[in-house]
């Protein structure tokens, strides 16, 4: 029997984790640079800017989530490895792409927005609630992509 199906599925899981994780690390990195600058000036803002820095970190987690669901669906995590046709393997690969690609791009831009929001916190710490909203707006699209990825992966017949 052809093993190609499982290879495609694994490639999908890898892409979801890899791209979304890369996006988050870029984003958290950008925000972290801004956060460090603020803490140099005023260490008491540490908690607030740390929260801001973590905001772009969620894409990586969404990627992990889709990757995990995919692995458990095809039975790579213990149990019987499913006999996938190349077609359903490719379907799973396609299902993993939204969170991978959107996670990569939104992670980067959410990081930039977080860095700007950290600027708000630096100057007006009482506006934390509003500052937090701007990065959260970017995240919406990662959540939508996550949703489609989850729905697609769970509903593909294996």
């Amino acid at each position: 029997m052809s093993q190609l199906g499982i290879v495609y599925a694994l490639l999908g899981a890898a892409l979801a984790v890899l791209l979304a994780g890369a996006g988050s690390s870029i984003g958290v990195g950008i925000a972290g640079q801004a956060a460090s600058g603020v803490v140099t000036e005023d260490p008491s803002k540490f908690a607030k800017v740390l929260i801001m820095q973590l905001l772009p970190g969620t894409q990586g987690i969404y990627g992990l989530l889709v990757g995990f669901i995919t692995l458990s669906k095809v039975g790579l995590l213990g149990g019987q490895v499913a006999a996938l046709t190349p077609q359903s393997g490719l379907m799973i690969l396609a299902a993993c792409l939204p969170i991978g690609i959107v996670g990569l791009i939104s992670g980067k831009y959410q990081g930039k927005t977080s860095a700007a929001a950290i600027g708000i916190v630096a100057k007006k710490p009482d506006q934390f609630g509003k500052a937090m909203l701007f990065p959260a707006m970017v995240e919406t699209y990662a959540i939508l992509a996550l949703l489609i990825s989850i729905l697609a992966v769970t509903n593909i017949p294996v």
Binding site: L55, I61, Y62, L65, Q127, K130, A136, M137, I150
Partner: protein, 674 residues
Amino acid sequence: MAVLQMQRFSICALKKDRKAILEELQMLGVMEIDTSVVEDEGLQKMDTMESRQVFEKQAVMAEHALDVLQKYVPEKTSMLDSLAGKPLIDKADYDRIVSIRDELMKKANQLISMNKEISENNANVVKLENQIESLTPWMSLDVPMTSKGTGSAEILVGTMSRVMTLEEVRVAVSEHEPDLDAYDVQILSADRDLTYLAVVCLKKDAGRLEDALRASGFARPSQMVSKIPSELKVDLERQIQQLKTETKQIEDKIGSFAESRDDLKKVADYYRIRADKYQVLGLLPQSKQTFFISGYVPAGAVSILNEKIGQAYNCTVDVEEIKEDEEAPVLLKNGKISTPAESVLESYGLPKKGEIDPTKIMSFFYIILFGMMLSDAAYGLIVFGACFIVIKKFPRMGEGMKKSLSLFMYCGLSTLIWGILFGGYFGDVFDVVARVFFHRQSTAPVIAPLWFAPLGDPMKLLLFSMGLGILHLFTGLGIKGYTYLKEKDYMGFVCDVVFWYMLLVGLLLMLIPSSIFASIAQAQITFPPFLNMLAKVLAIGGAVGLLLFAARDNKNFGLRLALGAYELYNITGWLSDVLSYSRLLALGLATGVIASVVNQMGSMLGDGVVGAIGFIVIFLVGHTLNLAINLLGAYVHTNRLQFVEFFGKFYEGGGRPFNPFKENTKYVDIKEEN
């Protein structure tokens, strides 16, 4: 659920009571001073700037002294101490501080000057150390640099501008003065680009020799030391030692001040209170014998003021309603469960004039939405328990902190309930433990979800999330309608609220029997024909109403229609708002799935002792991380749903917070005498 009614409270009293009345007002802390409305013709304001600055300076000095104490005898603090809030002191203690304030300020002064001495000492030590450093290359010189030599011999001390050996120096000299011979060169030391040397020669040759050396880069040292370098070094070291002992003594002395720390804190607060009082005093219009105070007071506090000031002093008081064009400050009052959510509202903005306080309705949704995003019974229990214990343990914690923690406590409770409904207990920890350690064969969950497992039927939860979203948004639109009705703007109510309800309900009713909905819900719902008819009527009626009346203020009919059509286009906004609630599903799944990943990793070491220990370690670390990251996510996204989707429907905010004249202390609270 209310914005407290404010009233304007004005006092006209005799100057001799001024101090007492101001102090009473400050202690009560219920009035925001605003004297801008008093007609001050013939009245004068006192210039209190100078005395205020004196008090502020004293407060700053006491704080500076506290900083010094903190630097040399740090107070032991733990993470939790920041939650403890300000301690309460009684009036007698406060009076004691007032009576010894001069003494305390003297102590503060001493502390500050001792700190200055220490920093001067430290600077001197550095200077001396630099001096020693610059002496190092000359250490093997056993005469002073300024030595004149003996009767017929002379000593030249200096540096060559590059590294040279003895031979090179002699060669360099003989190139210029081939017949000079009676001299002795001693190389003292050399570093990267300098050679330090001492040359002994006959007095008569000294000039010629120096010129010859200069041609090869010889230079006298810039600083001549009149002592033998090694002796000088010992001397300098002794001085450093002395300075260090002195510093140590001063530090010990600072340490003996540590017991005054609490008193210094109180005195700093005392001066801050006085500075505030003088600031207010500067605002008050005064005549020769009388003075006026006016300001905003919550309606409920008027009777206290009447009793404590109106009846206690020889004065007239006047209570009026706030005028139409006046923007009164905003103070909220809510029930026990809703009060904590005020902090969320405050971070968006307080209700502006004419808006109602949405805290109560918002708190209800906030707690539900938060719980749904975290949705794990064990996590909920942890959050609830932690907040509960901290609140009980530190009854005097700051107001803002208490609000946030109470809110999280309720959210934890809601998380617990959602967790039980969805069957999440640290993800699937019971199943994993039962399978790995107790070799349970069955694949059915150990504790079945009360409702259903989201991962098993995500579409169902998606529909539920969006349904909850529609309910949330409709509530927001309803509040907008309520505001219109309260202002008796019936036209606005019908055009901006009722038409939207008609259109949206109509569209929903048309959507439910459609095939798209059927494929999502996996169930075909058929309505009786009259309901289908009703749906069409509602949708078309609403759409036409919006088209015609959304821009009803516009005179130009063509423009009015165009703007109406634009309003109708907002239906896409509603669609995206509803879709936004899909994050409830996504975040809920994220918590559960990551928790399962943690459990799965923990179980990979198999059963047995090693497996169990590994499992416990991975379990603790993994779930702590997962809880932290998902708490953050739930907090951020609940706020977003409230601020963007919910408030977007009806709320603007922008009210000014009530800022009463009160004892604005930093370190302690003073108990009122009663």
